[in-house]
């Protein structure tokens, strides 16, 4: 049944290209929007008969080794939300129908890649789907043919290719050790005889390095701020919201928990890298003047939190990490959408030359305050609960230094977001911006939608804790 999540986008991208251009122009946007919406429905109502009957006929033809668990459903939900928002935001940025057609084609390919990466149960297929995601995001970054975008894309390509090579080397070592590329086979073999020879350590090290590069954790982050800040504004929503989360963080959690298993060495490497990212990412974003670069460094810092939760090695920590992935997808997409509106309306990205925009752009101003507060972990917004879970998990395991680092990072997050709010939205309105209007429906609707998700999830979190959020860790111990 889950094969539908790959086959339907694939079929629709083929059909869109076969249709005559006039028809294509009119339906492409609506079709892709409907696809991402249906994906969210699919996650919430998996038992609906509509999918089941469709799936039965397809599954007799195509056979996939797909499997779904809580982590996968959270990722699929994040993908559908962020793709939906990106498509809506793109309406404002891509004027010509020709360009929109190619944009939608590439975004459907990215959707296939991300869905496949979170559904597959085979390390080589994981590599192939990650590469599909990566290639489509290279194209999306460079789509505007701007020289800065080409530079950012080139850096991303070189880093990502090196990361893929490291991962492939690790995959071939695992193949040598176990004779298989299936998650379950490798996991069972590693569990039966925890080998500690040099080859295993080399394979784990190579895999971790590759995934750290893809996730943009701190010593390996060189490409991330450049790619985020040089991409078109609506693409950076997609990149920050899900692409790097699927390519780096999801793959990291899956490989560590379901394939390689925890060891003390892996845990200390994870905690150390994560702590570095949390602190250095926050400090680096304090020094930025371009707001998109600030958000990019903030992404590095938040990814550090997710890895801290994973590194705590407990069920609570993993649940917190997965919950934080969802929260990060919502609040970071929200903040990038707000940046896109400011950039579209003023044409300026330097925070020092902006001020008082909240008077002219009230929706953008209010939603960005909520997004920032959620990111800084202020109760009762959603970001608070996931950070609290991660910090409690670290404290309970005795990693008190790391728990303090997490709290300190949260304070730094608040500091740079207050700076961002104060310089862009608060204060006296600069007279040259007195004719600025609120960005249109295409940008305010996604902002309001994401704000509603943040507030609702935050308020409902105490009710959801027992049944939905704590059970996120069911991948643990399996």
């Amino acid at each position: 049944m889950y094969a539908l999540l790959i086959l339907v986008p694939l079929a629709s991208s083929i059909i869109l290209n076969l249709l005559p251009k006039g028809v294509n122009k009119r339906i492409a946007f609506g079709l892709s929007l409907a696809l991402s919406f249906l994906q969210a429905l699919f996650i919430f109502f998996p038992a609906c008969p509509v999918w089941k009957t469709g799936a039965r006929t397809l599954e007799s033809v195509f056979r996939f080794n797909f499997f779904i668990d809580n982590l996968t459903s959270v990722m699929l939900l994040c993908i559908s939300i962020v793709v939906f928002v990106t498509l809506l935001a793109s309406r404002k940025f891509i004027e010509s129908g020709e360009k929109r057609g190619s944009f939608i084609n590439v975004i459907l390919v990215a959707l296939i890649g991300m869905n496949g990466a979170v559904l597959t149960r085979d390390i080589f297929s994981l590599y192939v789907f990650l590469e599909i995601t990566a290639v489509s995001s290279f194209i999306l970054i460079a789509l505007d043919k701007d020289i800065l975008a080409f530079e950012g894309a080139f850096k991303y390509i070189v880093f990502s290719a090196v990361a893929s090579v490291l991962m492939l080397a690790a995959i071939s070592l695992l193949l040598l050790l176990t004779g298989s590329t299936d998650f379950n086979v490798i996991h069972a073999l590693f569990k039966m005889q925890p080998a500690h020879n040099a080859l295993v350590i080399l394979a784990v090290g190579l895999f971790l390095c590759g995934l750290f590069i893809k996730a943009g954790l701190m010593p390996f982050h060189g490409w991330l701020p450049d790619a985020y800040s040089s991409a078109p504004a609506h693409i950076s929503v997609l990149l920050a919201g899900v692409v790097t989360k699927v390519a780096g963080i999801y793959a990291l959690i899956r490989i560590i928990v379901s394939v390689l298993g925890f060891t003390a060495a892996v845990q200390s490497v994870l905690l150390l890298t994560a702590a570095l990212s949390v602190i250095l990412g926050a400090i680096a974003s304090l020094t930025q003047s371009d707001f998109r670069r600030m958000l990019a460094y903030s992404s590095i810092s938040q990814v550090g939190y997710i890895v801290l939760g994973l590194g705590s090695g407990t069920a609570l920590g993993i649940a917190g990490a997965i919950f934080h992935i969802f929260n990060h997808a919502t609040f970071k997409s929200l903040l990038f959408v707000n940046c896109a509106s400011v950039e579209k309306q003023t044409g300026i990205r330097d925070m020092r030359s902006l001020s008082g925009l909240a008077q002219r752009m009230p929706v953008t101003g209010v939603t960005s305050v909520i997004g920032s507060l959620s990111c800084a972990g202020i109760p009762p917004l959603a970001g608070f609960w996931s950070k609290l879970m991660i910090i409690i998990a670290l404290w309970m395991e005795g990693y008190r230094v790391y728990a303090f680092i997490a709290i300190l990072g949260s304070l730094l997050t608040l500091a740079y977001f207050l700076y961002l709010q104060r310089s862009i939205f608060f204060g006296k309105l600069n007279p040259e911006f007195k004719d600025i209007k609120e960005a249109g429906f295409a940008l305010t609707f996604p902002a309001i939608l994401l704000t509603a998700i943040i507030i609702l999830v935050g308020l409902a979190a105490p009710l959801l804790l027992e049944k939905q959020i704590f059970t996120l860790n069911s991948i643990w111990g399996g």
Binding site: F124, V128, E131, A134, V135, F138, I139, A142, K145, I147, L148, F150, E151, G152, A153, F154, K155, I157, V158, A161, V162, S164, V165, L168, A169, I171, S172, L173, L175, L176, G179, S180, T181, P225, D226, S229, S230, T287, Q288, D290, R293
Partner: protein, 97 residues
């Protein structure tokens, strides 16, 4: 053993090529050399553990993926060339901070 040494040499050559060259196309050639090293490694591993059929199918998939990545990369290099009129890495330094 010989193949292990050869694979390591290819790896070192690829990394050196990426780090030491000032030409964008040469950087991509370095990436290609790295991918070739990994391809060779998968084949050697397949024959060592007796799963040659699996290794072959992996290698064929890998070659296809690699071609796609390099095609997009060359497109980006072409874009940089039309803007800069040169392929020098030292001129690709507008993004900083």
């Amino acid at each position: 053993m010989v193949s292990a040494i050869f694979i390591t040499l290819l790896f070192i050559t690829g990394i050196y090529c990426i780090m030491a060259s000032y030409n964008l196309v040469r950087v991509l050639i370095g990436v290609e050399i790295l991918i070739k090293a990994v391809t060779l490694m998968i084949i050697v591993v397949g024959s060592a553990c007796g799963r040659l059929a699996l290794a072959q199918s992996l290698v064929i998939t890998l070659i296809v993926v690699e071609v796609v990545v390099i095609t997009v990369a060359v497109g980006v290099v072409l874009g940089i060339h039309t803007h800069n009129n040169s392929l020098d890495v030292r001129k690709v330094r507008r993004l900083k901070g």
